[in-house]
Symmetry: C2
Subunit: 100 residues, 2 copies
DNA sequence: CCAGTAAATTAGCAACCGCTTATATTTTGA
DNA sequence: TCAAAATATAAGCGGTTGCTAATTTACTGG
């Protein structure tokens, strides 16, 4: 009859997993700090403002769920948003929740 | 320097609360069943496929977080997505996660 | 090599989540 | 007014989450 917004249960599960990964204040803030840029862990720690361990654990969650990609350069690890879709999603969040 | 995607911590917190509310398979499926329509609880139960109690509790979460609105007609309660922003968000989820 | 810095990992625990089961509330129709 | 239907609420529990503190791993420059 009517066209469903999301058809398959499998898609719904995958979507909810991805959404869940970003549905946390620190993780969302990490994504906002990253934006389209590539940022080192220590700079993320400085910008977001919690312990290095805490940030590292949240980065691991985002990395394991496929939200973030990493590049290692010498002593440091740089994180970036893995694909344009996720970046688009974060941008949409701004449009939805931050319009004045 | 660079323009942040979401500026204020307050916005980030609010956004993460709203996202968290929909970051659950059953709740996301409820939102997909609703779409732009208004649907009774029993029809949601039938479409989503779990117990009435379970659906009712998830509906309460979405209602309390301001995601859904309700209308009572006789014996039944009808739910709908409360505002265009949320509907837009669900539509974006489809675009992001269900493109083939 | 080695001391120092960056990042990741582990353990532990308090708080929260999500389900089931049972019960309560509201409204209808006979 | 009463039984039945539709929805909501409450209690209880097992599992998960998210933090802190402590330790470990990886890499660097000297």
């Amino acid at each position: 009859m009517s066209k469903k917004l999301i058809d398959r249960d499998e898609d719904i599960l995958q979507a909810s997993l991805a959404i869940k990964a970003i549905a946390h204040p620190l993780r969302l803030k990490i994504l906002c700090v990253l934006g389209a840029k590539e940022v080192s862990v220590q700079d993320i720690v400085a910008d977001v403002g919690t312990t290095q361990s805490n940030i590292s654990q949240h980065l691991a969650i985002l990395r394991d769920k496929g939200v973030l990609s990493t590049r290692k350069d010498a002593n440091r690890v740089y994180y970036r948003i893995g694909n344009p879709r996720t970046l688009k999603l974060v941008e949409m969040m701004r449009d939805l929740f931050c319009t004045t």
